[in-house]
Amino acid sequence: MKFDTPATTNPIDQLKVIGKPLDRIDGPLKTTGRAPYAYERHDAIPDIAYGYVVGAAIAKGRITSMDLSRAKAAPGVLAIVTAAEAGKLAKGDFNTAMLLGGPEIQHYHQAVAIVVAETFEQARAAAGLVKVDYERAKGTFDLASAKDGATKPKDGGPDSAVGDFEAAFAAAPVKLDETYTTPDQGHAMMEPHASIAAWKGDKLSLWTSNQMIAWGAGDVAKTLGVPRENVRLMSPFIGGGFGGKLFVRADAILAALGAKAAGRPVKVALTRPFMFNNTTHRPATIQRIRIGTDRAGKITAIGHESWSGDLPGGGPETAVQQTRLLYAGENRMTKTRLAVLDLPEGNAMRAPGEAPGLMALEVAVDELAEKLGIDPVEFRVLNDTQVDPEKPSRPFSQRRLNECLRTGADKFGWSRRAKPGQVRDGRWLVGMGVAAAFRNNLVMKSAARVRLETSGVVTVETDMTDIGTGSYTIIAQTAAEMMGVPLTRVNVRLGDSSFPVSAGSGGQWGANSSTAGVYAACVKLREAVAGKLGLDAAQAQFADGRVKVGNQSLPLEQAAASGPVTAEDFMEYGDLTKTHQQSTFGAHFVEVGVDADTAEIRIRRMLAVCAAGRILNPKSARSQVIGAMVMGAGAALMEELVVDKRIGFFVNHDLAGYEVPVHADIPHQEVIFLDETDPMSSPMKAKGVGELGICGVGAAVANAIYNATGVRVREYPVTLDKLLEKMPVLA
């Protein structure tokens, strides 16, 4: 099915199941420990050996020699695979560095060997006996000093220019020119990258934890040099990904190589220290923002430049994206520049681009509003645009940013916000901050297979993944709504490369795109069922487990009396994303307390108001948004992968050193969804929320800290040491 005209009324609009705050259908499996995660699939395959990864001890250079003799002789060792033994390996389409390094080393903790043994402890102990000698090469590890040599990236960041930015900025009576920095950040999801690999002849089965099954199967095949059809990926449950599991990583490839060498199934999980330097991370940015306005506060010039780094062949953090669309202004400019750094490879992390981009832009807006003497909510409202400001003939499909801001201001008590440094509650200086949330809505082709079983149960199969987001539940809701059955009569099977290819989970496109694919398949199934029952599909109503046309009413399962009825289809998209800009919007409000003595920063309450199309399940959507708000709070206050610029690695590579928020950091959160449908997005009229929730949070926190203390910090994370010397002296 192709979606190329705006959606009209369809069975989803009944909202009997869709739009309800239902518990997730996989909840009982998870809370009782029965959801099968990748590392635990002993039910699926017996006799699994354990693999342990050895990582490079240098950031850049070459292996000069490896001595495996002691490791090979260690108890229980079945096999050791290094690049020298592995034969020719290719680099996956979605990888920047090789997943098994050697002799060339491209980054710290790049895998250089896998040791396979009977037990995990034996594998780990033997891995400690692998002796590797290196020759270090000089690397580049400091973005600030590499910045001036940065170049225009090949992919992912075209420059944009409308009008004459430089002249308009120079002429603007009120202007801001500031530079902001965001650090490297780790996904730090609960479940590490983990895989079990088993070969049967030349066919590989991989139980893994991966957000994008089809990309993954393709890259496993390419890396190992085997036909794509010989690779099967299964990833029904994922303990968090946040973009860190969009791509195949070392666990999957090394499990496959280890299993081949050992002649046994092999499981590999990355250890926590490995998560930070062996896998991907969100790259640090340096961002310069220039905004000029007239005296009334209308933006006349807006410019945003961003610098980030990556390994050779890598890509930029596209931190200027939102600036092209968020505010009005006739003269506009954005630039993205990419430096070569020899740090571990950068890649997508929740709301890549917008998350760090808004951390800068929305502080700049706060600063400018203050210069103008305009309330920051009003300044944003004043500069709203209902059309793509680079191409005014192209409207937003829906844009209710102003309503988000106004609703939030009202609910949050924004009118009580005082001038910086004026509010005190005991030992706390208290402040409020606001920021706009913005993230584009992406639509992706997505397929599904639906089957009416003889029992009357509807089975849905798609390679869509549930990364903790609620995919199982919203897909079940979609099928239940379309087929007129209760949720309990839908069985959802996900994350298997033998199922039809879905949109996968990434870029907050999963919810709308994957359910639209299920919608398409259900439309076909409805036709097939009506045909079997001798009813006119165009007239048929599916409700209460029955199919009705006029006075005729037949039980749904009657269509499957002589065997299951199966339908498969996909949803693909026409030009609506070109004719209309599809984005999601929100406003974040944050209140912080800053300790008057120690400058410790503690969030007191948070509110998000989101306008993101139809909310398919308000409960799981709220969970997505509050989780993203926590991540935004972490980005604002504590998360930083610290680069040792001499050695070239992230130093704080465990969860004691890389701090993420704990419960005590997040006392109170509220989420409001505006009642909205977007007929341009899909028949579901839905959009994404999982990334919108993080967008702008960091800036709202930073702005609240400024409001509390009068101290402006432009280098994230905002930690007490950056405030301490400038804290107001109190009587």
């Binding site: 001890a57 240098i58 108890p75 402890e121 780990r124 102990a125 400690g128 220290p273 030992r427 300790d595 003595d597 120690t598 400058a599 410790e600 503690r602 206050l637 504590m638 610290v642 040792d644 001499r646 050695i647 130093v651 704080n652 590579h653 465990d654 004691a656 050193g657 701090e659 928020p661 704990v662 419960h663 005590a664 950091d665 994370p717 930690t719 007490l720 040491d721 301490l724 010397e725």
Partner: protein, 316 residues
């Protein structure tokens, strides 16, 4: 983790003898630090002597009016003890500021004193570290030092001691009771228990090989307002950037010890006479001789301001 043998000792003396006789042996009690270090091969004992059966898990009054805390008393139990909460509030508060409920349930009094630094370079065996390999060098110096020592450090090591409990014990003038393989018992003042790194940062305490901690004793209560102020980037489950253990008396005098700033709990008794004159006065003596980097210089300001907060709060 290397393979190791495991045995359970029957008496303190026997445990001490077992470890004294075997340079590859280590005591294990709660295991909350040692097991993690073994998994990373930072600690590589070939033999573990479990001391959990030694019945050193009682808190009893001493004849001079203090308390004797058995080496195996769990952090949770110590923090909750009524006598500790009443007379040694700084200790209870320090314990509850540390780790998590789960860890405190396992962690012991002696083990808490013996926990090792959280210097990130110590935790990465690819990096040179004089604590792990004497003479190897120190990767932390010149690297990421935000959390590292500003007082009492050396050219060989700038690590800090991570314990909160030890800072409170320091302010309370506790003593560490031990037994050696030949049955000799001694009491080590807490001030002398932890060492500065000097040229031998791998030698962290005054304990001899095999010497086993049997108890920690607290002198009789000293009164005053007890507080433990732990400053950190997140609200819970983080090591201190700076912590202040304080006991402040009505006359403005008292005691102050700092955590998070040195290789041991940091207290300068001579500086405490300045306490009635305020935080700035006492900090001058307490922080004298500090050596900082651009990343950790904030700890001096932070310590002074945290002391100021403690003093103000104590005055009510």
């Amino acid at each position: 983790m290397r393979a190791f043998t495991y045995e359970r000792a029957k008496s303190p003396r026997e445990a001490a003898a077992a470890v004294a006789a075997d340079p590859t042996a280590r005591f294990i009690a709660g295991g909350t630090n040692l097991l993690d270090l073994m998994k990373l091969e930072i600690e590589t004992p070939a033999r573990l002597v479990d001391v959990n059966d030694l019945k050193l898990d009682e808190i009893t009054p001493t004849k001079d009016g203090g308390l004797r805390i058995g080496a195996l008393v769990r952090n949770t139990d110590l923090a909750a003890d009524k006598r500790v909460r009443k007379d040694y509030g700084v200790l209870s508060r320090a314990l509850l500021a540390g780790a998590s409920g789960q860890l405190r349930n396992k962690a012991t009094t002696a083990g808490n004193l013996l926990q090792r630094t959280r210097c990130p370079y110590f935790y990465d065996t690819n990096m040179p570290c004089n604590k792990r390999t004497p003479g190897a060098g120190c990767a932390a110096i010149g690297g990421f030092t935000r959390s590292l020592a500003v007082l009492g450090a050396s050219e060989a090591c700038i690590a800090t001691h991570p314990s909160d409990m030890a800072v409170a014990l320091r302010v309370l003038d506790a003593a560490v009771e031990t037994v050696t393989p030949d049955g000799t018992e001694r009491s080590i003042p807490i001030a002398e228990f932890h060492r500065l790194p000097g040229q031998t940062p791998h030698v962290e305490t005054a304990l001899a090989r095999g010497e086993l901690i049997t108890a920690v004793t607290l002198p009789k209560p000293i009164g005053g307002v007890h507080a433990y102020r732990k400053v950190r980037d997140r609200a819970s489950y983080a090591f201190a950037l700076v912590s202040v253990a304080s006991v402040i008396h009505k006359d403005g005098g008292g005691r102050i010890a700092l955590g998070g700033v040195a290789h041991k709990p940091w207290r300068v008794e001579a500086a405490e006479s300045s306490l009635p004159r305020g935080a700035k006065a006492v900090s001058e003596g307490l922080l004298a001789g500090a050596r900082t980097t651009t990343q950790n210089a904030f700890k001096l300001t932070l310590a002074e301001r945290a002391i100021g907060a403690a003093v103000t709060e104590a005055r009510g």
